[in-house]
Amino acid sequence: MSKLSLIQAVNQALYHEMDRDPDMILLGEDIGLDGGVFRATDGLIQKFGEDRVVDTPLSESGIVGTAIGLAAYGLRPVAEIQFMGFLYGAMEQLISHAARIRSRSRGRYTCPLVVRTPYGGGIHAPELHSESTEAFFIHTPGLKVVVPSTPAEAKGLLLSAIRDPDPVIFLEPSKIYRAIKEEVPDGEHLIPLGEARVVAEGEDVSLITWGAMLHPSLEAAGKMAEKGVRAEVIDLRTLSPMDTGTIIQSVKKTGRAVIIHEAARTCGLGAEIAAVICEKALLSLEAPVLRVTGYDTPVPLPKTEKYYFPDCDQIIEAVEEVVQF
């Protein structure tokens, strides 16, 4: 065990797996000597050499497209895209190919590819450095989508993502890359994909969230506890496939749900969660399912970005609304 930040945990997971699996290679922009703009790959080129830690041309579609070929050839490529906003250039490769290599080839070729990318806002960076459009990938059959919320989670989920036989979009909440440190198990540490985590148990309301938003949600839960409202907090971890069972079980118990995400509201994952609840737990509902989300606008530039992201107060307000409904 050592106390690591999320970015260090990512680095450790990459190191661990590269050491274990000679077929794993990293590719991306500035991941070599520079160690990645967030230093996720710091020290890896020194250890594993430039055949395995490969700086590529500035070419997101090229990175994902060649990674698909690498994966089909039998390697385990882990691609870094510098920011989620630059993944849009690779959408055709992801949707039309990564997600379909296995089914198109009837299982003959597979695509065990991980695309890692920092995501979400709050880091005072220029436009398109604060994207949280996970819904695009969740809506794409054939992809998995994973978002860790703490350092230990990051290590355990990333290792599982790399070993997964299918393509995984691994979204790292950049806001909390360095904000939290926690004990992270050394060596093997695997958290299965597809299972949500109940971070806090409660009887009165279910807070459903993931990534950086877990933290204001926990804060809100703490404050509400002082007022006697016991919130259950669920960290989804794997967004696709989603652990519907854990959500429904919780809402059947609490009768109330608030979903918190950074992404724009309309057609975000929050909508899917609300729809599932409304379909499978309607009779348990004692209040409307509320969503606390980003607005249906681009994320503002740093000067006013703070206004975009859900904060503890907004979560508390929503909780109060459903509790008092």
């Binding site: 290679i25 055949d51 490969v54 590529t56 041309p57 070419s59 579609s61 090229g62 994902v64 497209g65 060649t66 990674a67 698909i68 070929g69 690498l70 994966a71 089909a72 050839y73 039998g74 390697l75 490529p77 055709e92 490769q93 039309s96 190919h97 379909r100 296995r102 089914s103 198109r104 080839s105 009837r106 299982g107 003959r108 070729y109 597979t110 059959p141 054939g142 998995k144 036989p165 299918d166 597809g194 496939p241 989603m242 519907t244 069972g245």
Partner: protein
């Protein structure tokens, strides 16, 4: 050095077998000699893939197959490439490559399955290192580059070949793939079947460059044009490029200048956008006829031998059609079962409901 020339480039064009069926022996002897047997087998392959193509058009017309993209006029490229490839090489064809696929090992029946909208039409044979066709033009090019990268990483002594059309060169994926291949000096050969049309868009609207070959200059490796109706030229150039790739000397772009003799697909009507005169000119350059002229002249290939070949080919194709038509229906559950290694609970649920629905639908149909 106020004004100086940094680099000079030239773009060459190769032709070994000319339009009258005459061979340029100097060029040929530079490479290994092509034997009588090989020449005849090239011709046999061309006759075979043309017959497969004709039958596909016929199956489509008679409602037994879906939309189909004819390869007529482009047979030399596919035969030349197939002959130059080793079985251990990997191949990433675009959709106008029926001939190449057959020569790489795909049963004729499977070709017809693909074009009839049956997913089993994308299955590869054991030991056949080919990617299934995908539809978005040009986007498979980076996959070929990635596979070549994989081979280089694993030190496998193979090369990768990918084919695509002139239209494909306009896509960003062509650019990004070519560029990676150059930067990492990968064992990959890019074969552009420049048939001068992308559906109705003529080559001059696809690029202001006079050749596709010169596009390699942008990526720092060699590009060369070859007469796309000259199987000997294509075979020779491609073989050299593959060997160079296997030697670790990097990628090559080969532009095969040819012509699409038929409509773009069976859903297209080329008379809307191009003249009969243009088609007629290219009909005279037919790659199959050209090779026939050669072997007739050089190796006494007689009409009766030719007829026997056609009869044999027709028999093979007819057999394949029978097999194609006898195929049991595709199980629609593949939609779920082929997607991930393991089904998620939600997909499992959807699959279960679908199975119930399928039961009902089948009952209704059998009524």
């Amino acid at each position: 050095m106020p004004k100086k020339t940094l680099q000079e480039f030239s773009v060459e064009s190769i032709q070994i077998l000319d339009e009258n069926g005459k061979i340029d022996t100097t060029l040929l002897s530079q490479t290994d000699q092509i034997s009588e047997k090989t020449l005849k087998s090239f011709y046999e392959s061309m006759v075979l893939i043309r017959a497969i193509d004709e039958k596909a058009l016929n199956l489509q017309r008679t409602g037994r197959m879906g939309t189909y993209a004819s390869i007529q006029g482009q047979e030399a490229i596919q035969v030349g490439c197939a002959a130059a490839l080793q079985p251990s090489d990997w191949c990433f064809p675009a959709f106008r490559a029926t001939g190449l696929s057959v020569l790489r090992g795909t049963p004729i029946k499977v070709i017809y399955q693909y074009w009839s909208g049956d997913e089993r039409g994308s299955e590869m044979q054991d030991g056949q290192h080919d990617f299934p066709i995908s539809i978005p033009v040009g986007t498979h090019i980076p996959h070929a580059v990635g596979a070549a990268w994989g081979a280089k990483y694993k030190k496998d002594p193979i090369a990768v070949l990918t084919t695509f059309g002139d239209g494909a060169t306009s896509k960003g994926d062509f650019h990004e793939g070519m560029n990676f291949a150059g930067v990492f000096k990968l064992p990959v050969v890019f074969v552009c079947q420049n048939n001068q049309w992308a559906i109705s868009v003529p080559f001059s609207r696809q690029t202001a460059a006079k050749t596709i070959a010169q596009k390699a200059i942008a990526y720092g490796f060699e590009g060369i044009q070859v007469d796309g109706n000259d199987v000997l030229g294509i075979y020779t150039v491609t073989k050299n490029a593959l060997e160079k790739a296997r030697r670790g000397e990097g990628p090559t772009l080969i532009e095969c200048l040819t012509y699409r003799l038929n409509d773009h697909t069976t859903a297209d009507d080329a008379s809307r956008y191009r003249t009969e005169e243009e088609v007629a000119i290219w009909q005279k350059k037919d790659p199959v006829l050209r090779l026939k002229t050669l072997i007739e002249k050089e190796y006494e290939w007689s009409e009766s031998v030719d007829e026997a070949l056609h009869a044999e080919v027709d028999r093979r194709v007819a057999e394949a059609v029978d097999a194609f038509e006898a195929i049991e229906p595709l199980n629609p559950l593949g939609m779920f079962d082929m997607l991930f290694e393991t089904l998620s609970p939600e997909l499992h649920d959807q699959r279960k409901k679908f199975t119930q629905r399928l039961g009902k639908l089948n009952k209704e149909e059998s009524k």
